[in-house]
C-alpha cells in the first residue's frame, strides 16, 4: 500500500467518487419517497406533523403505521446497512491501487445490485429478486474487503 497519495489522483478514485455519489443519492431519494408517501397518505409518526387536520380526532387518525410507508422505510434502512460498508471499504479499496477495470467492475456491480434491490423492495417483486440483489451487493463489498486486508494488514 505504498504511495497511497498517488492513488487519490487516479482514475480508480475518480470512479469511486462517481459511484459512491450515485448510490448515496439513490439512498437519499428513498427519504424523499417516504416523505411523499407520508404527506399523500397522511401517515405520520409525530403529533406536531398533523397540523393540517382540524379536529383532535382527525389528528389521532393520522398517527398510524402504514404498510407502504413501512416497506419503503425497511428498504431505506437496508440501504443504510449496506451502503455504509460499501463506502468505507470502497474508499480504502480505491487507495490500495487496484486495476482500473476490476475496480470499476466492483463499483458497477454494487451500484446496479442496490438499484435492483430498491426496485424489488418498493414494488414487492417476487423473491428471490430482492435476496439475490442483496447478496450480490454484499459479495462485491466482501471482495473489496478481502483485497484491503490482504494488501494492507496492520494489526
Amino acid at each position: 500500500m505504498a504511495e497511497l497519495t498517488h492513488m487519490i489522483d487516479s482514475e480508480v478514485f475518480l470512479a469511486f467518487s462517481t459511484y459512491a455519489t450515485i448510490v448515496t443519492l439513490k439512498m437519499m431519494l428513498l427519504s424523499l419517497l417516504i416523505a411523499y408517501f407520508r404527506l399523500t397518505k397522511k401517515v405520520f409518526a409525530n403529533m406536531e406533523d398533523t397540523s393540517l387536520a382540524h379536529s383532535t380526532e382527525d389528528k389521532k387518525k393520522m398517527i398510524r403505521v402504514d404498510p407502504d410507508v413501512e416497506r419503503v422505510r425497511r428498504c431505506h434502512q437496508n440501504d443504510l446497512e449496506n451502503i455504509v460498508p460499501f463506502i468505507v471499504i470502497g474508499l480504502l479499496y480505491a487507495l490500495t491501487g487496484p486495476d482500473l477495470a476490476t475496480a470499476v467492475l466492483h463499483f458497477r456491480v454494487f451500484v446496479v445490485s442496490r438499484i435492483c434491490h430498491t426496485v424489488s423492495y418498493v414494488l414487492a417483486l417476487p423473491q428471490p429478486s430482492r435476496a439475490l440483489s442483496w447478496v450480490t451487493g454484499m459479495f462485491a463489498t466482501f471482495s473489496m474487503a478481502y483485497r484491503v486486508l490482504s494488501t494492507a494488514l496492520f494489526l
Copy 2:
C-alpha cells in the same frame, strides 16, 4: 479533479474536518440522551437491562415503549440517514477544489440545519420548523453532490 492530493492540505478540507466532526458529535449526543431517558424513565428494550428491579413483575413493566424515548430515537435515526450522505458527499466535494467561501457556506448551512432539526424534533416544536430544517440540510447535500458529479464524472 486533477491533483486531488493538493486539496487534502487545503483549508476546505480543514473546514470539512471541523464541521464533519461537530455534526457527528451532535449525533452521538443523541445516543447519550436516549441512554439518559432510558435510565431515568426506566424504559428498556432488553430483559437483562432491568437488573435493578427486584421482582419479575417490576422487570416486565420496564420492557415497554415510551413516547419520549421513541421521539429521540426517531430524531437519531433521521440524523443517521442525513449525516451519512453529508459526510460521504462532503468529503468528495472537499476534494473537487471548491471555492473556500462557498464550501464553508455549504458546511455551515448543513450543520446549522441539523442542529435546528434536532431542537425542533426533541422539543416537538410546531411544524414546519422540523420539515424546513430537514429540507435545508438535504438541499446543501444535493448541491455538493451536483458539484461532485459535474466536476468528476467517471462511469
Copy 3:
C-alpha cells in the same frame, strides 16, 4: 494539520484501514446473522418473502416479530450508530498525524469494545457487560474527536 498528504502514506493510516475494515466486516456479519435467523425461524417482514409456504394462512404466520431476530436487529442498529462515528472521526484523526502507538491503542480499544458489545448483546449476557463495552467504544471515539478539533479547528 500541515501536510496531511504525508499522513495517508503513514502507518497510522494503514492501521486505521485495517481496523476500520475489520469492524465494518463484523457489522456486516450481523446482517448475515439476521438473515440466517429469519430463514431458520421462518420470521419475515414482507409477504413476498414467504413464498416457501403453500397456504395463505401459513404465509401470514410467517409475518411476525420474533424476540431473537429483534435482539440481533437492535445490536446491528447500535453498531451502525457507533461504527459510523468511529469511521468518520477515526479517518480525520488518522490524518492529524497522531503518535502511532496512541492511534493503534484507540483503534484497538474501539474494535475490541464493539466485539464485546456484540457478544454481550447477542448472547444476552448480564449487565453491565453491554453497557460498559458501549461506553468504552464511545469514549475512544470522543478521545479521537477531541484531538481532531484541538489540532484542526476551522470554523
